[in-house]
Symmetry: C2
Subunit: 694 residues, 2 copies
């Protein structure tokens, strides 16, 4: 392996993410118009400096490439390099101790450098970088390891896909690619003069609707010899209605599927084929939305939304375990200082940012990333603290969007669910402050969290009504029982066992409480139910709700689904006939639920240093699958008579299961922890444990 | 006049300045290498929205152009405009009340719009704009009033200049343009194949030094028919040594002088031709450096330095009175939040920013601009307050440059001059807080200023030594008497009459105190001397110091001048033989001094609402000139026997002068205010007052 292969393009931390996020944020198109987001888009610093100290026995030649214009300093003196003449140049470093500094500038891309020497190796995070704020940090790098390919276009993979059918519907021609997909469309051998219109449809109905379709493209063709034409922007679709002006013809229509090349490490199979299909469609749905960042949905916004990303990241833990996309998403969402508005303008989405970072740390154990984010965590939590009302609670100020969910609820005043989400941000901030050795903030945030939690329960907990009330407005408690505050309180461990039981009965399993219509909040609802052991109920719900979309022909899961709606209203949303996104990341919840609550694998210490395996059949005959961890996969199989677990390469597992009979383990000592409940400590790495339950 | 002529391109306040500042900051070249500044370069927001509410009797067509991609919303609904097809489009607004919102995005320029309608008029600051920080502000506009010319390239003026001579010096050919100039070089009728090298010289010596010259250009020529060639970047020079490879020839060499088209409104003439020449060369010097921003010098940095800009802005008040360039400079220097370092990394240059804003307000009375700057004034003063030491004083922290002047002095610890500069920032912040109705900050900053001023005098004032001591380091007073703290204390009115007298004798007029070698600090030194009535002494100094540069052949004034140096070392600086800038803004101090202390015109209330005219002959036979104000020029003539003052179109003047005999006035009532001192209230606008002194 030569040194060149060991070098990476390096840049100022966050620069690539901000630059990329800005680029993708304006790809949204709506019926031919751009639709930029209504929040600030930050970008890379245009003017940065890189440096490294070398201590050489002998002279060394450093090969150098720079994205941007630049100047090289050795021990603070400029040294001549003919940078304007060639993209790759070289510097001679004499023996002894020398500091090489490269100042780089560009306003069109991410300022970045790539360098390597025979003995000193290549650019990596051992180089330091500054944006001239008085601070030097370790440089960032990622997938750009070719000196000729500086950080820019995102490195997607592509696959050419042929249509499964081209059919006539009356006078309309519709091409079907068999399932929801994303990318470009190519016509080979196009000939003639005129316009080709492509009306895209996530559903057949949308494609057939022509002008009413949410997205379309027009190609202007003018050629006398057969020529290939490709669309200019990526689109999400399954169907395309084609309209060619007379005299135009082509040979083939093909689709170039664009995707993030990541490996499915998680898997789930079981005795129920419907559920297997739900898992598979969930996998396709989350993969389609896992790209530069964790997106909401591929047809419409293609924006990075903090709430959606929170779920996307949790789902990712049970299938790709791709840390990079989560880190990119967290950095892009947070943006640069100063914080002037809530993330995505939504108060609860600011809170979800903390939760995403916390989840990321729990699953990966990546403290370096937490450390890199910590200064911006502080400015974000201080922004929130500065917006509390006189009671110390968060309410929507002018310009704040109080969202929670697409649902009928009061949004003014002190919404209880918002206080609970915020309180957990304070918990997280305190925890991270402690990990950073910042005792002052650790104490401050912990105290604030305690006080707020006490206040929440004092004000909103109503034993008679059966849980936490919705909120308070103008000093009056809004005595309405909704699932949101209760399921979040459960999620964050804020409920006593007695309160949990009340919430289970009076909120989660009570059919008279307002139903949740988005997979977004159904995610947390199902999670809460699983947390209190309702796996059987949740399984039926999954089959009914996600299976309900499949019954309607879905090949990916949706932004919103109300099983009660008539079929011809199913694609309606936001006042548009086909505005609903049919491939929405938060629709992939079953991957998370099945991995965490049926295969039952979850970290109990950051980065799976300790983890739990608590498989539940939920009345299935058998389940089987893998859950990725930083140290390889944990495999789980369970049926009525046995459990098999193959441990990860590192970390201490804890297998927990129910059994009416006395179980036997192939290795280790089983411990009874309650009536019919047993635990086995999984101490051996990469080992296949078998438990016999009969 | 049609509506189109009344419209301006509009953008988010500060965007054009930040974008432009970033562009010009990387024009610095040093011997062929770029040399970006070592501070953060901010840029325009890429994603902004404009809006305006219309209330129409009848339907109106709004013609629209946008720099960037965009979408138009009416009452929050998208309306179709075929923006991709034409640069200029139109929107139809129906009768009634409607809000038009235009969301614009570009990462390559300043997002901007231009619109007009027959009855509603054109885009101007009555439109609002947001960068999506939750706040809408009045849009900014400036000189871009042509729908086909969106804000971009700076609107300079050009003039073609022929050389005054082309001479041989041994084997070298040198073209002389007669005086310091700035711009491009054109060769007409170039023919042949090979390289042309241009070695630029602000001095003949520099041009002749060839490779040692600070700037040079190379043109690669390859043509068989006569062709015109122009250099690619602007340069500052008087001389060019030309080297043409054999076989190359051209017809003419011409220079394209690039400059800001502004009018000289100030003037000064007197009985001393040397002084008249100093004023004229000062005028050329300041004009050359007054461009997109107020620059330091044109050969080398071409950066915006806060200290230099402070002087440049003061000088501008007595010649161009161009508010725009001062505003652009203040905005660019301040940059965006968050503040992470001192302006230009220099502690005192942060302080000079406050002083520049304060001076700007005093001369123009432009409270709107102060208001626009106020949020950033607050974050900057808070940044400073956060860096005080335990004693409440400012000392250089890691990465801070403590500059004051190019001079031998201790820079560690608590430098007295820095405390004085900072103390005045607190005065200014308090004053502006008061003007903004921000009583809390007004009180806070005033208290801090009072406490700091007391502390300064308690620690540093030493009656025996004759003034304020230099500083304190490690708890020990540095008992060194330098001009800096004393002249600044005088400038800001911190000295009692007794202290002023001590400073005059022991510091300002004492030849044993370390001399100042830069026109930068000579500016404040001369000002302080004038403030205590030493106009005669200052006149002699001007003739000696600035005249000394003229004696050495200067056609513009320099960055540094030590009359004591031998001629062949005069261009040395920063360790380079020709690195000294020979056209440096701060060299133009005489314009300010002659206008303010000889013609004697200065504002006494913001925007010259009240002003003083206090002419001093300084032993000249006569002086005559004009000083610009927001309400036209004030003209002053004075000789031994008479004074003539023509007042501005608005504002109340106060003429003050000395006379041994009883004077007579053509109008108004003369008032004796002290022995041989008289005052006349100039109440009539645009009126020629005559005072007879004999």
């Amino acid at each position: 392996m030569n040194q060149q292969q060991k070098a990476s393009w390096i840049w100022y931390p966050g620069d690539y993410e901000h630059w990329l996020h800005r680029k993708v944020s304006v790809l949204r198109q709506f019926r031919g118009y751009i639709s930029p987001p209504y929040w600030r888009l930050d970008s890379a610093y245009s003017n940065v400096a890189f440096r490294k100290k070398f201590n050489l026995q002998e002279q060394e030649v450093l090969t150098l490439a720079v994205q941007g214009s630049f100047v090289v300093l050795m021990d603070d003196d400029m040294i001549p390099v003919s940078y304007e003449k060639k993209p790759i140049t070289s510097i001679v470093i004499p023996p002894g101790e020398h500091v090489i500094k490269i100042m780089a500038y560009t306003d069109e891309a991410v300022p970045a450098i790539y360098a390597y020497g025979q003995t000193v190796g290549g650019t990596d995070s051992s180089w330091e970088v500054t944006c001239h704020d008085g601070d030097w940090k370790p440089a960032a790098c990622w997938a750009f390891q070719d000196i000729h390919q500086p950080p820019g276009e995102f490195p997607f993979a592509y696959e050419t896909v042929e249509p499964v059918s081209v059919k006539r519907y009356g006078d309309k021609t519709v091409v079907d690619f068999g399932r929801e997909t994303f990318g470009y469309v190519t016509f080979t051998g196009m000939i003639g003069t005129g316009k080709v219109i492509l009306y895209y449809g996530e559903s057949l109905e949308e494609a057939l609707a022509g002008e009413e379709a949410e997205t379309f493209d027009e190609l202007e063709v003018d050629c006398v010899t057969p020529t290939d034409y490709r669309t200019q922007v990526t689109r999400a679709f399954r169907y395309i209605q084609l309209q060619l002006e007379p005299g135009l013809s082509y040979k083939h229509i093909l689709h170039e599927y664009e995707y993030l090349p990541i490996v499915r490490r998680g898997a789930f199979r079981c005795s129920d084929d419907g559920l297997n299909r739900i898992w598979e469609i969930s996998a396709q749905t989350i993969h389609m939305n896992t790209r530069e960042f964790l997106y909401d949905g591929m047809k419409r916004d293609r924006w990075v939304w903090s709430g959606d990303a929170n779920l996307g990241a949790l789902i990712n833990n049970y299938i790709f375990f791709d840390a990079d996309v989560v880190k990119r998403t967290i950095v892009a969402l947070r943006g640069k200082d100063p914080v002037t508005r809530h993330i995505n303008t939504i108060m609860d989405f600011t809170f979800h940012w903390f939760h995403t970072l916390d989840d990321y740390y729990m699953y990966t154990g990546d403290l370096d990333f937490v450390q890199a984010c910590y200064p911006k965590l502080l400015t974000l939590i201080e922004f929130c603290l500065g917006r509390r009302n006189a009671e110390g609670m968060m309410e929507g100020l002018s310009g704040d969007w109080v969202f929670i969910d697409w649902a009928d609820m009061e949004r003014e005043g002190e919404v209880c669910a918002e206080q609970i989400l915020f309180c957990h941000c304070l918990d997280i901030s305190s925890k991270f402050a402690g990990l950073m050795g910042d005792a002052e903030h650790e104490r401050k945030f912990a105290e604030l969290a305690t006080r707020l939690r006490e206040k929440i329960f004092e004000l909103f907990w109503n034993e008679d009504k059966g849980g936490l009330m919705h909120g308070r407005w103008n000093g009056e408690i809004i005595e309405r029982l909704l699932k949101y505050p209760n399921m979040f309180a459960l999620r964050f461990g804020y409920l006593s066992p007695e309160q949990q039981d009340i919430v289970r009965r009076r909120v989660l399993l009570d059919d008279t409480v307002q139903k949740i219509k988005t997979p977004f909040m159904r995610f947390f609802e199902m999670e809460a139910l699983c947390e209190i052991g309702e796996q059987h109920y949740v399984l039926q719900e999954m089959k009914r709700y996600w299976g309900g979309m499949l019954d309607l022909g879905a090949t990916s899961f949706w932004e919103e689904f109300d099983p009660g709606l008539p079929a011809n209203e199913q694609y309606d949303m936001y006042g548009g006939k086909f505005r609903k996104s049919l491939c929405h990341a938060w629709g992939a919840a079953p991957i998370y639920l099945l991995g965490k609550y049926y295969l039952g694998v979850r970290p109990e210490a950051p980065g799976y240093a300790r983890y739990c395996v608590e498989p539940k059949l939920g009345e299935l005959e058998w389940i089987s699958g893998e859950v990725p961890t930083p140290h390889g996969e944990v495999s789980v199989y369970m049926d009525a008579s046995s459990i098999r677990v193959t441990t990860a390469r590192s970390g201490i597992g804890r297998l927990r299961f129910n059994s009416k009979t006395l179980p036997r383990a192939s290795h280790g000592e089983l411990r009874q922890v309650a009536e019919d409940e047993y635990e086995l400590c999984l101490t051996l790495p990469d080992h296949a444990y078998t438990i016999s339950l009969t």
